[in-house]
Symmetry: C2
Subunit: 185 residues, 2 copies
């Protein structure tokens, strides 16, 4: 992604925070992460992340998705850290604005609200659907494969979790990276 | 506190959630806890709590305070649970609406924004002030004594934490209880 595109998208994310009534500091506004997983198709497969804090024990962030935007399938594996063995990140999603459809390991839902994006359907395999409208929440245990896609209004989702260690995330497509390259204009 | 008073206060809390744009389910609206710590002075010393979830590893809730309302001094001690030794609850407060003044162990702030409530000042001893306006946050480590009081508009504060175990909380006044008695009308 080009640096100038990232700045433009970041301004779009701020509009979602405004709609949801979520107040950010100026430093946070500048720290919103914009990732396209190096797939160069941000509006189809991509995510905004704003991490509020991440201690060794707990963390919280907000996720923003554009209408129909999808986060590719991945899970959170166990890892070692300075406190010993960590069973992996446990995260709870709570929808604050719009709608998001979460797909997790389990019995496939017969008539799901979303399909995987046409681009790269191999990134999206698990098919048990959880609908998250504002006020609804769902806890994803470590090791559970999941992906999610926003409904037509986009979405803001609060993520409450144990320690974040995004660099440990295991994507279904091993070529994919959470930390996208930023190109100069 | 009388049951009818609790119901009235709960309706007041809902107005704060509306102002902050926080969407709750109908079940959550009915589950808002109203505690006066059995001090019978709820508008001075009391707290609304809505716990979203509490697993063995992470939890999140919203706190609501009326204008000038204070939560009495306490800390979160270590405890044993089914996973072994827990060093105690680590919690991060993030102000969403209004203002809250947090007082923690440390160098007393010379000209603090709040004083302890006139009632029972012995419940409020630590005096290092942290001002939390919307978007500001602060992490309280286990074992750190703290109390807090809302500014003139009241406050909504998100609490992101490790496992909640309120029954383990140690109050500066040992007679005080987090789980207030509810009297029939």
């Amino acid at each position: 992604m080009k640096k100038s595109d990232m700045e433009t998208y970041r301004k779009t994310a701020l509009k979602y925070f405004d709609k949801a009534g979520i107040v950010l500091t100026d430093a946070e506004k500048k720290a919103i992460e914009v990732t396209d997983y190096d797939l160069d198709a941000f509006e189809d497969i991509g995510l905004f992340l704003l991490t509020y804090f991440n201690t060794g024990r707990s963390s919280a962030r907000e996720l923003v998705l554009l209408p129909g935007q999808a986060c590719p399938e991945h899970y959170h594996p166990p890892f070692e850290d300075d406190t010993g063995s960590n069973p992996g990140k446990e995260e709870t999603f709570r929808c604050r604005y719009g709608s998001v459809y979460l797909y997790v390991d389990g019995e496939p839902t017969p008539d799901p609200a979303c399909r995987p994006p046409d681009l790269l359907p191999e990134h999206f395999q698990v098919a048990h659907e959880v609908e998250l409208l504002p006020g609804a929440q769902y806890t994803i245990n470590p090791g559970t494969k999941h992906w999610f896609r926003a409904g037509p209004e986009g979405a803001i989702v609060s993520e409450f979790s144990t320690r974040i260690k995004d660099e440990a995330d295991v994507f279904t497509d091993p070529a994919l990276t959470r930390f996208a390259t930023l190109d100069e204009d």
